[in-house]
């Protein structure tokens, strides 16, 4: 089931678009000189810069930021020296952590800059939006109702949690309107194709922020008046009213607290509503009797990938990496042309890292082209489209791969934030952080591959950690392959941290306070609920990999229980090989194999008893499955090297071989395994062969029997004297007409051998019939020239790099 996350903000976060700073003198109280409302866009370097400038100019004695007041406790951490955006405020319901809301911040978010200014200048700062403790339930319900169809497959709903008139999560995608996309309306009026371009052009790239606000404030008032005519669902209307009432209440509280110069950083959409502070009684009536939820708040690292709008985040921006670039260049007071130059240089360096051609001359030409394009489009400066198109024309030479690389690594960016060590964390998060530190396994935004060598203690611990997290449903690492060509002690993992994993981790907190405990509890719970033996053995395997001895013990008990009542021998046989592997080779992972031995005892006994019955009445498909299972189980029992297992197994096989009316394939294989184990001698097998192929037998079953005996053994037949003589002697002893009668049956098996195998068989048959005797193959030696062979040997050892002994 998709986790019910709620992401804050939305595409029209209307106020994002405006940038109005205006001062007014509310006639609430003569003692309040000024209320400055700074309308911002959620993530926009231009807005952030203007907010910063405005605050430095105004020097307010109180700052109110549109955001969840629930976060008041963790707010001071924003100024912590270890805090690096992008980070997000994570607010979740205490009793159901999957109901969580993220408020992402980047370095170029105006709210972040307002917080940073306030905290570094010791100005009191408060969040002023409707607290989530009063609305989390509604939000999650809304996300569940309508958010998910928009959310896509990651299950995150983009809900208008903090701003914007359209309080209908998701609906804006379907019905764009003045309300849902006011900036789009403004942009269309200005002749732009979409709001993002218009905003980018008008505000984010603007160097001079004077004079912009008056115009936009006016537009805002008009837009609000026009939008009021559009119908709005009552629930949304109520929420908007509640939020604005709460904001006004917070402003009044600040006023009563004695603030003389208040700066309000909010979506400009709300600007007009916050200017008028009269009507306190109405607001209080509205805000009475709000529901209360128990919520917890913390900071979580965020990534640019998640900030990008293509990730499904409603208030996302198209190009976080580009915005950060704009922010840094403007913070460093670089000239506009230098912004383009630096961007192109970064592109060139990125391409060079990827071994693509990108010289300084390319950069020069790309910047020139971008500027020419901007001029052609009447833009004062090259924006991202111009820069990207110039890069495409100059660096890419008709291929779109470099462009994808640029988009992935620069335009969106792979940055991931960090939060300070003393952030309040859920116990599991803390445990994971410690483990990550201890094992030097940092959480990173980009995906990275780790090749773990399980013989090294650190790598072994890493592997255990990742397996435990997988058990808990925290999909940080993906096991690419284990073992493979490099031996059983290798595991290759691909790690990619996603911000939602923080929620998964908090959610997993119900299982325990450390990852090991939680994984154990989770595995035991799954074991109790699982009914199929194969699920249990799979789980057991996972528990072994994750090194959870308690879970293993529990699982063993469960497996024993289930095995006792399981009537399907095939299931038991399927479970045996992995367990045998653990028992025999378990020491790479240093697991305690003792517990397994007991279960294996039971399994072998049950299989040995049940096998003959399970082999009765098989059709061809079932026989083929059973054939494979018998071979695997036989291999597993062979690996265990326990005399009592062997005896029981052979006894069981003998009964299969002696069955009347069993499937030939299974019986033939049982005979063969007994021959290999030395339980049957050659004469016995020859007798049985003759018996099966006798004229009275069913030809189809006879053919199957021979196939069971000899399948995949062509090469063996050439070289194994014992097997050869059984077949050869039997064939030689046949009268001519009987031989012709059984020939079609034999051919069915022999035709499956490879051509060279058949040729060798033919040659061998001719030789042996020409009078050579049994044992010829062993009569080697004596015929070759020792000194000459020794000379060749010397060269061969040299070629093979073997030290001369």
């Amino acid at each position: 089931m998709p986790s019910r996350l709620v992401l804050t903000g939305d595409a029209f976060y209307f106020a994002q678009w405006t940038h109005s700073v205006y001062a007014m003198k509310p006639d609430l109280d003569a003692a309040i000189p000024e209320l400055h409302i700074l309308g911002v866009r959620h993530h926009g370097p231009g807005s952030a810069r203007s907010v910063r400038r405005a605050l430095e100019r105004l020097k307010p004695d109180a700052i109110l930021v549109e955001g969840p007041p629930d976060a008041a406790d963790v707010l001071p951490l924003a100024a912590h020296e270890q805090m690096r955006p992008p980070v997000a405020l994570l607010i979740y319901a205490h009793d159901a952590p999957r109901n969580a809301v993220f408020y992402p911040f980047a370095i170029f978010s105006p709210e972040w800059q307002a917080l940073a200014y306030a905290l570094t200048h010791d100005v009191p700062v408060r969040f002023m939006d409707l607290p989530l403790r009063h609305q989390l339930g509604d939000l999650v319900r809304a996300a569940g109702d309508s958010g998910e169809h928009e959310a896509g497959d990651d299950g995150i709903a983009a809900v208008a949690a903090r701003d914007a008139p359209p309080e209908s999560p998701g609906s804006h995608m379907l019905f764009p309107s003045l309300r849902s996309d006011p900036i789009g309306a403004l942009a269309a009026a200005a002749g732009y194709s979409d709001g993002e371009r218009w905003w980018e052009h008008m505000v984010e790239q603007r160097r001079d922020d004077a004079g912009l606000f008056a115009g936009i404030l006016e537009a805002m008032t008009v837009l609000r008046a026009a939008a009021a005519r559009e119908p709005l669902a009552p629930s949304m209307q109520r929420r908007e009213a509640l939020r604005e009432a709460w904001m006004r209440r917070t402003i009044r509280q600040a006023v009563h607290g004695g603030a003389r110069r208040i700066a309000v950083v909010c979506g400009a959409w709300h600007g007009p509503a916050l200017a008028d502070l009269s009507g306190e009684a109405d607001d209080e009536r509205l805000l009475a009797d709000l529901p209360i939820f128990d919520v917890r708040t913390t900071w979580a690292p965020w990534t640019y990938g998640r900030l990008a709008s293509r990730s499904g985040y409603g208030a996302g921006v198209e190009s976080p990496g580009w915005y950060e670039h704009l922010w840094h260049t403007s913070a460093a007071s670089l000239s506009p042309s230098e912004t383009a130059v630096r961007w192109m240089t970064r592109i060139a360096r990125l391409l060079r890292e990827a071994d693509l051609e990108a010289s300084s001359a390319h950069v020069i030409e790309a910047v020139r082209l971008a500027e020419a394009l901007a001029a052609l489009r009447d833009r004062p400066l090259p924006g991202l489209p111009e820069l990207t198109e110039a890069a495409e024309a100059i660096f890419c030479f008709g291929s779109d791969l470099p462009l994808r690389l640029i988009n992935e690594r620069l335009v969106i960016g792979v940055a991931m934030g960090t939060v300070p060590g003393d952030t309040p964390l859920a116990p599991l998060q803390r445990d994971l952080a410690q483990e990550q530190k201890r094992l030097r396994l940092p959480a990173e935004a980009g995906s990275r591959e780790y090749d773990l060598d399980l013989r090294k203690p650190t790598d072994l611990d890493r592997s255990r950690l990742l397996h435990r997290l997988t058990l808990l449903g925290v999909a940080w690492g993906q096991l690419q392959r284990s073992g493979g060509g490099k031996g059983t002690f290798h595991e290759v993992w691909r790690l990619e941290w996603q911000p939602e994993l923080a929620v998964a981790l908090i959610e997993a907190g119900i299982w325990g306070n450390t990852i090991a405990d939680a994984a154990t509890a989770c595995a035991c719970d799954m074991a109790d609920r699982a009914e199929e033996l194969s699920v249990l053995t799979g789980l057991l395997n996972q528990a072994f990999l994750a090194d959870l001895p308690d879970a293993v013990t529990h699982l063993m008990a469960r497996i024993e229980c289930e095995a006792a009542v399981a009537s399907d021998i095939a299931h038991l046989m399927g479970a045996l090989p992995p367990l045998a592997g653990v028992l025999r080779y378990g020491n790479v992972r240093k697991t305690d194999a003792g517990v397994v031995a007991h279960v294996v005892d039971g399994l072998v006994a049950r299989i040995a008893i049940g096998l003959p019955v399970a082999c009765a009445g098989l059709n061809d498909d079932a026989a083929a499955t059973m054939y494979r299972l018998i071979i695997d189980a036989g291999g597993a029992i062979g690996v265990l090297q326990r005399a009592e297992y062997q005896a029981a197994w052979h006894d069981s096989l003998k009964r299969v071989a002696d069955m009347r009316g069993g499937h030939g394939l299974v019986m033939g294989r049982a005979t063969r395994m007994l021959l290999d184990a030395g339980m049957f001698d050659a004469a016995e097998v020859a007798r049985r062969l003759g018996l099966v192929l006798s004229r009275a037998g069913d030809p189809v079953q006879a053919a199957a029997w021979v196939e069971g005996l000899l399948r995949d053994s062509g090469a063996l037949l050439v070289h194994d004297d014992g097997l050869w003589h059984i077949i050869n002697n039997w064939a030689m002893a046949l009268p001519a007409e009987t031989f012709i009668a059984v020939l079609p049956l034999l051919r069915r098996t022999f035709a499956t051998f490879a051509v060279p195998e058949r040729r060798s068989l033919g040659e061998r048959a001719r030789r042996s019939n020409e009078g050579s005797r049994p044992g010829d193959a062993h009569r080697t030696g004596g015929d070759f020239d020792e000194p000459r062979a020794a000379m060749a040997l010397q060269v061969v050892t040299q070629l093979l790099g073997i030290a001369q002994l």
Binding site: E357, A372, L373, A375, L376, E392, A393, C396, G398
Partner: protein, 360 residues
Amino acid sequence: MTRLLREHAEQQYAAELATLAQVDDRPRPPNWKLSPWAVATYLLGGTLADGTVVTPKYVGHRRLIEIAVATLATDRGLLLLGVPGTAKSRVSEHLTAAISGDSTLLVQGTAGTSEEAIRYGWNYARLLADGPSPAALVASPVMRAMSEGKIARVEELTRIPADVQDTLITIMSEKTLPVPELNTEVQAVKGFNIIATANDRDRGVNELSSALKRRFNTMVLPLPETIDDEVAIVQRRVADLGRALELPAEPPALEEIRRIVTVFRELRAGVTIDGATRIKSPSGTLSTAEAISVVNNGLALAAHFGDGRLRAADVASGLVGAIVKDPVQDRVVWLEYLETVVKERNGWKDLYRACREMGG
């Protein structure tokens, strides 16, 4: 009515160019007949302030043309890439017509293109009689473009042998063409530039050296995005060409064009328009340009041998000829398409029968 079989762009659209030049009040780069804005308008079409309608010469992304014009304005060479028939040569011709007023400074790249074609040659009679002199020099189109500050066109750049291609490097980076025999040089006048075209499929023939590559901005011209775009292109070009060729037939019905474009797009993409059936693709490109020639061919047949109206039978021969380039493989592809798609489609019976009669 002109006697010419095909007029140059600057002749055919002389009126538009003149009006644009009159209205255009934006700054023009040195030696440009029009400002970059006006050039973009000329190619993409639009309505001028005085109400003159400029026909679009290229239907497609506006940004492509903008990049091309901006490239030329920053005197970088422009390399147009694309599969055959994506209007590379057309864009290059119209750009030079609009910028230099002269689209005739053209070097056709072939496997046999020599250095003389790009630099200069000699009038051997005069060379033997008088010895080396400027009078004995035969200037190449590139040399003329340099001295007159115009734009030279190089078609099929990648078909030119690599050593000959590289003569362009000095011309493009130093903007000069030395003539050692006369101990002199021709220095490019402002406004000189080069537009080259190259075929995506030919890229392996003579891949550009990275030194030369670096001197070009590359632009890939895509196949038309939507069927409506493509139909509009075919219709416009057929009308143009029909006028030039003086075909007496009526202008073709939109429906017939749409059918041809549909066939081309489906075979090109290897899947039917509704996305329901997978089909094989033939070996040829099946570009828009070929669709245009199929319609034209059909028009000519209809005019001279038919009743003057474009019918399925008139189109069939051209269609089969355009699609079946390889007599063995493509024939199989075409017959499969005919039997599985054309035959089943409503209202396409006449086309199916006509194609069957062709023995396609």
